[in-house]
Amino acid sequence: MDLTLTINGRKHQLRDLAEDIPLLWVLRDNLNLVGTKYGCGGGYCGACTVHLDGQAVRSCVLPAKAATGKKITTIEGLANGSEWHPLQQAWMDLDVPQCGYCQAGQIMNAAALLEQNPAPSPEEIDAAMNGNLCRCGCYLRIRNAIEQAATTMAVQTFDPNQATEELA
């Protein structure tokens, strides 16, 4: 099977793929985008989370061919050029990782959450992050980092003109 996939804004032509190959293994083995991790292969842990048209998906159970014609974003494409995504910044500020293996998946899942819900409550964060395991137990810091990033993003998107109008 030949495929064209759009990943992090770049088109990739892929040849001779197995019909059923999950996106995860195309990313890792064919494209050497190894930030997306294999943890369980069954959709249970979230280590393999990427975005498909902005939605968080588990790439270990998503057939690569189902991603054709869609916009795929991986952890390698989350930053805006040399500027960290606020989640990446918060992750470093709060020293979230222990082993770090789950963290790309955690960040990608959180990024999709903040895209849809810029100011999630702690309960909404918990619910959205339920599919992402952290065996090292960094959950408290993950939650705090998501809250910090949400705050940063709120400030960044703060539009003074609009605010003035509202105040007036």
Binding site: G39, I75, P97, C99, G100, L133, Y139
Partner: protein, 722 residues
């Protein structure tokens, strides 16, 4: 180079392109108490100062999530007065001659290197300072150091370490150096973000699974689901025809369980091709020498053994007499199951065996052992095996074993190309070296005043041969509270088992703490005493027969007192909230936890908060330390609540995370961490905060419900996460 001090065994050299490299090999007498206790005297450090004033520090020990790649270089940087912002940390080569023992286990990295790393930093600082003084023609005593610069306050001059490095490399190294008092620390004890964090959050290759080697093939290794089974026959001709597959072959067992087990290797041009081909495998296994264990049967057998007397391990005083004479006699039977390590990164290793050499890229906690084992397996000299240490996606003790490294090497030996071996999650669950299950028949007697008169623990564990205890199932004969009772009786019974076991985070303590710290609470309840007061009295009581060499009573009492204070013990709780307390000492760390829980009518458990007080001496990286404690508490809760393996017919039934319910974010309790930073040498933090977690929670559940949980996991008693 001239006049280099022989006594300090230091190597000092300019490097091409300028700069200074210091390799240190410090003598044994430079070491402090913690290191002496461990019996390890080989140390090294590596510092490179570049002309542009960046400072490269090598972290010698493997990084498994315990944070040593950050904390160990921090120790050097503190004494060196290096500007942490311009420090670059590299993972050192694995080289026993240069670095001594390199491993990640037993919470030993910090205590064994503390003095050597500080001295290395201090010596480097001293030569830089002297080089500056000479250049300026001033006394070195007039100079100071800060942020990778030497300063001369009187004249307002300063020079960067980078500018001084070449001159410093020509100077003799000081024979002795003075180390900073703690009050002068600027970096140690602060919160420092992990050195690999930028790479982690941007998805850069770091871990074992991320390794790519030119010409590499991908392999899976399929072993018998009944542990130890061998291959009779398999449809290998079919497998070899499958897309992408280049080889499929049977390998016989070599060495022992930790070397190479029998199985079938499939080598292909991608991970997915290898995984897919494996699904088509049909194997006729020979299970005649495989495990046939059943957890259900083991539980029955243990219950029978508990009724009879075991082998006497310690017998002091007259325990039976004292139990009979006691005002309160309490008997209880505790148990806990086998559990898996289940680190997030499934086992993997890349190997290239060629021309009588072997190159390995391995996420291993024991790189030097892996080298030995592979050399043995391939029958080549150890010097012909090179291991590149890679970051590990968790280990918790699993990666102390080298089986996956041996498998990769054996497969590469056979096919001749570099091979990346990738285990599936299912492999990881089915072929772990598990935390052993166990049983304790406990009895204790108290006098009228509620003082401990007698303590009996009949420990029932497993044995591979019917004679020796299995790994991680050996009895702790030296632990609190045995020594506090005049009459102590420890017994041991063994159940034969072929299930391989290993070291799981805080080995032995992770399970035994549950039994005996809950039982101590039972005693307090029987004596109608406050648990905190009872525990403090017990800890402070005279030791009747202690050979617990390193246990310091005052530190134990200290953490318990402090946790009662910090958790506001039994005061101001919400009406439906209840507290439980536990203390444990392991890996030279003193920890006391108070868990605050609520339980709904249908046994829905919510752990709201766990307050932790630990004493591991001075804290190196406060952020890393707190992270370790938070993780340990979550791991301890996760395991106590819901994790167990139901072994049947020699097979572990749980195959993936859906059957092995690790805790998720929504159920993570708040963890309130406090350290008593005593003046003792610092000790490690990967493990000792875990053991008190399960008993603190179980004791809180008792307070809430009156139901005494004597078996893990708690889900088996009908509890669920609320």
């Amino acid at each position: 180079m001239r006049n280099v001090s022989r006594r300090a065994f230091c190597k000092l050299a300019g490097v091409t392109g300028g700069g200074l490299v210091l390799g240190f090999h410090l003598p044994a007498n430079a070491l402090g108490k913690a290191a002496r206790l461990s019996g390890e005297y080989e140390f090294n450090a590596y510092i490179q100062i570049r002309p542009d004033n960046t400072i490269v520090l090598a972290a010698q020990n493997p990084e498994v999530g315990q944070g040593v790649k950050t904390s160990m270089p921090m120790i050097v940087a503190e004494e060196l007065d290096a500007d942490w912002q311009t420090v670059e940390v590299i993972q050192s080569a694995i080289d026993a001659q240069r670095y001594g023992r390199q491993f990640a286990g037993g919470s030993r990295s910090i205590p064994t290197r503390w003095d050597a790393l500080r001295e290395a930093g201090a010596r480097a600082r001293q030569v830089l300072l002297e080089a500056a003084a000479e250049k300026w023609g001033v006394a070195s005593g007039e100079c100071t150091t800060r942020d990778s610069h030497v300063l001369h306050a009187a004249s307002g001059r300063s020079l960067s370490y980078g500018a001084l490095a070449q001159a410093a490399s020509q100077r003799p190294l000081p024979k002795t150096v003075s180390l900073k008092p703690r009050s002068e620390y600027c970096l140690l004890g602060t919160r420092v973000s992990g050195v690999d964090n930028p790479a982690i959050v941007s998805g850069k290759p770091l871990f074992g699974v991320d390794q790519v080697v030119a010409g590499m093939q991908y392999a899976v290794y399929h072993k018998c689901p009944a542990i130890g089974g061998t291959v009779k026959s398999a449809n290998l001709d079919v497998i070899r025809q499958l897309p992408g597959v280049s080889a499929a072959f049977v390998m016989d067992a070599r060495g022992d369980r930790e070397d190479l087990q029998a199985g079938i290797a499939i080598v292909a041009n991608s991970t997915w091709a290898a995984f897919s081909a494996r699904k088509q495998l049909q194997v006729d296994w020979d299970e005649s020498s495989a495990a046939s264990d059943s957890w259900r049967a083991a539980k029955q057998r243990a219950a029978e053994l508990a009724q009879i007397t075991g082998q006497q391990v310690i017998d002091k005083g007259d325990t039976t007499g004292a139990l009979n004479a006691a005002t309160h006699r309490i008997d209880a039977y505790y148990s806990y199951p086998y559990v898996a390590h289940a680190p997030m990164e499934p086992q993997n290793c890349t190997a290239h065996v060629h021309n009588g050499r072997c190159e390995l890229w391995a996420p291993t906690q024991m790189p030097q052992v892996a080298i030995k084992k592979v050399a043995n397996l391939l029958d080549i000299d150890e010097s012909r095996v090179t291991l590149h240490q890679l970051r590990m996606g968790g280990g918790f003790g699993r990666r102390l074993m080298s089986d996956f490294v041996c498998e990769a090497a054996a497969i590469s030996e056979r096919v001749g190309t570099p091979v990346k071996l990738q285990w599936s999650r299912e492999d990881d669950m089915a072929h772990d070296f598990y935390r052993v299950g166990g049983f304790h028949a406990l009895s204790a007697g108290l006098d009228k005043a509620g003082k401990l008169l007698a303590w009996r623990d009949h420990y029932i564990t497993f044995s591979p041969d019917g004679e020796t205890t299995t790994r991680g199932g050996n009895q702790h004969t030296k632990l609190f509270p045995h020594s506090k009772a005049k009459n102590t009786n420890l017994q041991l019974s063994l159940i034969q088992s072929a299930i391989p076991t290993g070291w799981w985070r805080a080995p032995i303590s992770c399970a035994v703490a549950f039994a005996n710290q809950c039982f101590i609470h039972e005693l307090a309840v029987a004596a109608r005493r406050d648990h905190g007061e009872f525990l403090l009295e017990l800890l402070a009581a005279e030791d009747h027969h202690s050979d617990l060499v390193s246990f310091e009573q005052s530190r134990a009492v200290g953490v318990v007192k402090e946790v009662l204070h910090r958790a506001n013990w039994q005061h101001g709780l919400a009406a439906d909230h209840f507290q439980g307390l536990a203390f444990y000492y392991s890996h030279a760390g003193y920890f006391a936890h108070v868990a605050e829980v609520s339980v709904t009518d249908n046994k829905g458990l919510r752990v709201h908060k766990v307050t932790v007080v630990g004493d591991v001496g001075p804290i190196v990286n406060l952020s890393g330390a707190e992270n370790q404690v938070e993780g340990s508490v979550i791991d301890g809760f996760s395991t106590a609540m819901g994790l167990s393996l139901s072994i049947e017919n020699g097979r572990v039934q749980e195959r993936n995370y859906h059957q092995y319910p690790l805790l998720r974010m929504r159920h993570a309790p708040e963890v309130d961490v406090h350290f008593i930073q005593s003046d003792n040498p610092p000790t490690g933090l990967g493990e000792p905060a875990l053991p008190p977690t399960a008993p603190a929670i179980a004791n809180a559940i008792f307070a809430a419900t009156g139901e005494r949980l004597r078996s893990m996991p708690f889900t088996e008693a009908g509890y669920s996460l609320a």
